[in-house]
Amino acid sequence: MTARPRRPVLVMMSGGVDSSVAAALLLDAGHDVVGVTMKLWGGPSDTGCCAVSDVDDARRVADRLGIEHHVFNFGDDFERNVVAPYVDDHAAGRTPNPCIECNRHLKFDRLVRRADALGFEQIATGHHARVVETAHGPRLARGVDDAKDQSYVLHVIEESVLRRLLLPVGTMTKNEVRAIAADLDLRTATKPESQDVCFITNQHGRKAFLGDRIPLRSAVVQTSDGDDVGRVEAVELVTIGQRKGLGLAGGTDPRYVIDVDAGRGGQPVVTVGERADLAVGHTPLESWRWVGRVLDDRELSFQCSAHGSPAPGRVIDGRVEWAVPHRKIALGQSIVAYDAQGCVVGGGIAGRLPL
């Protein structure tokens, strides 16, 4: 074997179609590819992540492609950095996104450190996003398939990781990815996508999961004038904009949650109002990190949920000033800023906007 030395790539294989095709494309491009599946959650799961069947799918795709496949158990790291904060956030009346924390701490930190230790210069995933070179360094950009773009949940990737990250399916539509998988006869070609939080089962849900770990507290539901209009069993499960499950009498105009006060120690209160009360001129930022360079006061585009529509605004004095009134954002949700080229330029966490 006198082939030129090839730089090995560690590709994260979740057992889904995107990462299967990512591995195949890298192999086709001449890389020395090793597949890895992270075992993160040891408890029950029916939402299509971390389950043994997904590990099987990843392994069988790797077998089919003729590449090595390994499983790394990062269960302790996952519990510490994703599950425990998820529970704490709910207890504090926040609305966390555990997938973002998993990306921050597991996929693009713990696994990267493991890759370093094992000698892999490059890592790859099957995410729908792209790494683009700009005058200011590498940036994460939206994937070509608008409907599948995952740059929002990946905004936490550090620049040093972007430099060594390959995202081979980011330049493709999901249909193209599935076509390649079908063409290669990969068993994941028609596998449905995972949608939900991997450690919350559809069968038992968020309430049972949280209830096993923290005491759930009931809360009065009030109007902003202080009139009691309903009651919820668990303030931890209520989020801004919610309409249902508030114990409200029928016959009135629809009412929405406009504030959640978890009232640490005291009585928690959920405040409801009209749809118009959800519109705000600005959103406070609890934390914010610019990617590379500060773009305060610049007109940027902000996305506030995984598949939300971006809205124009500016970061001024630690808050996002919206160009047009924006729907109120739950405490704890991530806000990601994009420039006109669709590159992630900053990101952070929404703070609580008092009534």
């Binding site: 090995p8 043994v52 499983v71 269960g75 450190r113 230790a117 000698g119």
Partner: protein, 390 residues
């Protein structure tokens, strides 16, 4: 940069405790028996009688190695079935409480825990203390089965089965004593070591027989609910058409293992000691010889070490890439490494236990294997230590 050794490259296999290569004589016996003895041994014709005779001969051979009557040998699909049969069989027939050590193989631990049984912690040296077992047995009413393994599959620690049986007889006279001796056959003469146990699990693939065949030794008079009922095979204790070729090959392997044991213990024990001494001299204080310095007797071919500050999962990856095949703790069904319940039961901190490495030798191990391991392991440890542990 990783250099990945491809499948065709020669590998150093130090994972015999997980499964050891088939012995040539066992393979020959299997091939011969599977070709010649095709009939169902429960039939009434000449072919059936031939199969029946081979099965009974195999049963005699297995019984002889344990110095038990042939009627006590129940062939199973392996160690896990034998363990389940012992625990669930006693509980099914008699009810009561099951007691086992916290360091048992999952094939014992899970049936015991599922039935609401009680576990006895391990001592710091990895053994089960007869005194501690006695305390548990005195505190529990209606103990019907006690299960303590002969040799621990992760650490290689040997338990004092005669003493453990003795306290069981004294403190829970009605209880059945079971021992999982799956890891023991290569290292201990089970004629004496487990002579007083009522039930003994053994299996083929840890001693050079095929995977998929083992046995439960059942003292006459012990009543178990069968796990598998049906055609009354194995005297009604385990239904299903007997695996004649498997039993023949198992008998061949266990007979060879028994004959070679004194020499194997000496030879492999010396290799193991050289391996550990070599690792110690190269890795210094980073190497912790988990049980080898603790005073408890340890099976000759098993070296369990903990490399401080290193994650076993990363270490195994690098070793595998360099052509060395070993293991850490037990692997879960997904293939990921789970934290060791054995080391936890010994009181070893979970973070420390992450550096576990089990190097286990067997009948094919050579001096060259030890040389290779000593050349491969230290640089891999260096690399991981330089990278924060992996």
């Amino acid at each position: 940069m990783v250099t990945i050794v491809r499948d065709e490259a020669p590998a150093v296999y130090l994972d015999h405790a997980a499964s050891t290569p088939l012995r040539p004589e066992a393979q020959a016996a299997w091939l011969e028996a599977s070709a010649r003895l095709h009939a169902n041994p429960t039939g009434s014709h000449r072919a059936a009688r031939a199969a029946r005779r081979a099965l009974d001969d195999a049963r005699d051979d297995v019984a002889a190695v344990l110095d038990r009557p042939s009627s006590e040998v129940v062939f199973t699909s392996g160690g896990s079935e034998a363990d389940n049969m012992a625990i669930r069989g006693v509980l099914g027939a008699r009810g009561g409480t099951a007691v086992c050590s916290a360091g048992e193989h999952h094939a014992v631990l899970e049936p015991v825990e599922r039935a609401g049984g009680v576990t006895v912690g391990l001592e710091a040296d990895g053994t089960v203390s007869p005194d501690r077992l006695a305390d548990v047995l005195r505190a529990e009413a209606s103990v019907s089965v006690v299960s303590i393994m002969t040799v621990n599959n992760e650490t290689g620690v040997i338990n004092d089965i005669p003493a453990l049986v003795e306290v069981t007889r004294a403190c829970a006279p009605d209880a059945v004593f079971h021992t999982d001796a799956v890891q023991a056959m290569s290292w201990l003469d089970l004629r004496t070591h487990v002579a007083s146990a009522d039930l003994v699990s053994i299996t083929g693939h840890k001693l050079g027989g095929p995977v998929g065949v083992g046995a439960l030794l059942m003292r006459d008079g012990v009543v178990l609910d069968p796990l598998i009922s049906g055609g009354g095979q194995e005297r009604g204790r385990r239904a299903g058409t007997p695996d004649v070729a498997g039993a023949v090959a198992f008998a061949s392997a266990i007979t060879a293992t028994d004959a070679e044991r004194p020499e194997a213990r000496r030879r492999l024990g010396a290799l193991r000691d050289r391996l550990v001494a070599g690792l110690r001299s190269q890795l210094g204080g980073r190497l912790m010889a988990t049980v080898l310095d603790g005073g408890a007797p340890v099976a000759a071919g098993i070296a369990h070490v903990i490399v401080r500050g290193v994650e076993a999962e990363a270490l195994l990856f690098l070793l595998d890439a360099a052509g060395l095949q070993a293991s850490a703790a037990s692997s879960c069904s997904s293939g990921a490494q789970d934290p060791s319940h054995v080391l936890a039961a010994m009181g070893i901190d979970r973070m420390v236990a992450q550096g576990s490495l089990r190097l286990s030798l067997g009948h094919t191990s050579t001096e060259a294997d030890v040389d290779a391991a000593l050349a491969i392991i230290p640089p891999a440890v260096e690399r991981l230590t330089a990278c924060g542990g992996g």
